[in-house]
């Protein structure tokens, strides 16, 4: 009994430390990728001075952020101002808890893992709104209003896609969803055309919603520099800003992991060879690359363009996709 409790406690500590480390390392090196990859696309070289090929640049950035003073301006709601960066980081790390990285690596295997990720994903929006509100700054307030409108608009198509997927998989358990896709890429949900011929399109819609939910360009209305200085982050300095930064990249990692699990077969190899955590990471970072690639290919949309895309294109398509899935499930019986 006591032995079990000690082991359970140890496991808890190990996973908490591991997940925080994973999130922080990802934030650090995705931020380096965010500087290197666009610099290649613009025929530049990116950071080269700190360490070989600039590999220690994230360390330098982190030290700089940590050594800076955290300024709390007058007239801000101090409690919420300090709470917001914490609230934006914690849910994105909590989302990592239920992600199955491989057959054996997962902090907790919930039956409702998928639901939990979307529930905590919504808190991220809430925290950004709090940050904007608490800053008592006109730019931050506009950003707070924008983040709510944007996230409501994009949560609908994302959830409609997920619902139609869950109708096919019959489970919210991420581990079982991945297990259903074993044995070659033609078993992935992305190519599950027998269940729904529009699967590639629904993956595309999910990916677009992922970009919008993670507030990434071309949908980064929350921190539209040219209009809102730094949006909700305008008044933040030092590690307060750093936490928003970590959360942004943790959200990208969570979003790309969910896309990998739902559509790309998780830890399964495309050719049925050597399943393992490496395939999961390859797929995850390919999607992260795509996120960065999209950011540096397209200019920021305007706010009405953002909402038009969601309400006029994505939501009708996602609804049609849902109905089609339901009809297909009735017409063609699942094996």
């Amino acid at each position: 009994m006591t032995h079990e409790m000690v082991m359970d406690g140890l496991r808890l500590v190990l996973y908490v430390a591991g997940l925080i480390l994973f999130a922080a390392t990802n934030a650090a090196y995705l931020s380096l990728a965010e500087r290197k990859i666009p610099s290649w696309m613009q025929l530049r070289r990116g950071p080269t001075e700190v360490g070989p090929w600039g590999l220690l640049q994230p360390v330098a950035d982190g030290l700089k952020l940590m050594s800076k003073q955290i300024l709390i301006p007058q007239d801000t709601d101090k409690f919420l101002f300090i709470l917001a960066p914490v609230m934006v980081v914690v849910p994105s790390i909590l989302c990592l808890v239920t992600l199955p990285f491989s057959e054996t690596i997962a902090a907790r295997n919930y039956n409702l893992g998928l639901l939990m990720i979307f529930a905590f994903g919504a808190i991220n929006m809430f925290a950004l709104m709090l940050a904007g509100w608490a800053s008592a700054n006109k730019y931050s307030s506009i950003a707070a209003a924008r983040v709510v409108a944007q996230n409501i608009a994009y949560e609908i198509p994302a959830l409609l896609i997920v619902i139609s997927l869950v109708m096919i998989t019959h489970t919210f358990n991420l581990h079982s969803i991945v297990d259903q896709q074993s044995g070659g890429f033609w078993h992935w949900n992305l190519f599950n055309l027998k269940a729904n011929p529009l699967m590639p399109l629904s993956f595309l819609i999910f990916f677009i919603c992922l970009l919008a939910e993670a507030n990434r360009a071309p949908f980064d209305m929350v921190e539209a520099e040219s209009e809102l200085v730094a949006g909700a982050f305008t008044e933040y300095s030092g590690m307060g800003f750093g936490l928003f930064f970590i959360a942004e990249y943790a959200n990208i990692v969570v979003g790309c992991s969910v896309a990998t699990i739902l559509f790309l077969g998780g830890w399964h190899c495309p050719f049925g060879l050597l399943p393992g955590v490496h395939w999961f990471l390859i797929k995850l970072y390919s999607l992260c690359f795509a996120v960065i690639w999209v950011r540096w290919s397209f200019p920021r949309t305007q706010f009405y363009g953002l909402l038009n895309l969601s309400w006029k294109i994505l939501i009708p398509l996602a609804l049609f996709n849902l109905i089609l899935t339901a009809v297909m499930l009735k017409v063609i019986p699942m094996p």
Partner: protein, 146 residues
């Protein structure tokens, strides 16, 4: 209805084209130069500060101290002096200083020189924290080069 689908599919296609362009750019040659470690040679018509030209046969500056450049300078930043050595047919400069803090690189001195003794140098790394660095001794510069 057809127009709706047509515009959306066309829009998606243009996005794909844009992404393909950025992807191809990733594998092209970088244009950035590692500046402090490497630098480009300056273009031939670059107008740096002025420099005296050396006469290759005698090894001395071509300047004969006619003062045309000093008179032509609108900012009065050229100061020169010279003597006529024993047995020589022309004067030689003993000092030639350029006050680069007021020079506007107009090039009137080079145009006014009838003896082809002045040119623009190709120097461009001229940043300094000390004012004295811009009191340039051009005579010393031309002698250094020998």
């Amino acid at each position: 209805m057809i127009k709706y689908f047509k515009t959306n599919i066309e829009g998606a296609w243009t996005l794909a084209v844009g992404m393909w362009i950025t992807f191809c750019h990733m594998f092209r040659r970088r244009v950035t130069l590692d500046y402090p470690y490497k630098s480009l040679t300056m273009t031939p018509r670059y107008r740096g500060h002025i420099d005296l030209i050396k006469d290759e046969t005698t090894g001395k500056p071509k300047c004969i101290v006619c003062m045309a450049c000093q008179r032509a300078c609108p900012s009065g930043c050229i100061k020169l002096d010279g003597v006529k050595p024993e047995g020589a047919t022309r004067k030689e400069p003993t000092s030639y200083t350029l006050n680069f803090t007021t020079c506007s690189l107009c090039g009137l001195c080079v145009e006014s020189c009838n003896f082809g003794a002045l040119k623009f140098s190709k120097e461009y790394n001229l940043a300094s924290l000390r004012k004295e660095d811009y009191q340039m001794d051009l005579l010393a510069r031309v002698q250094e080069k020998t």
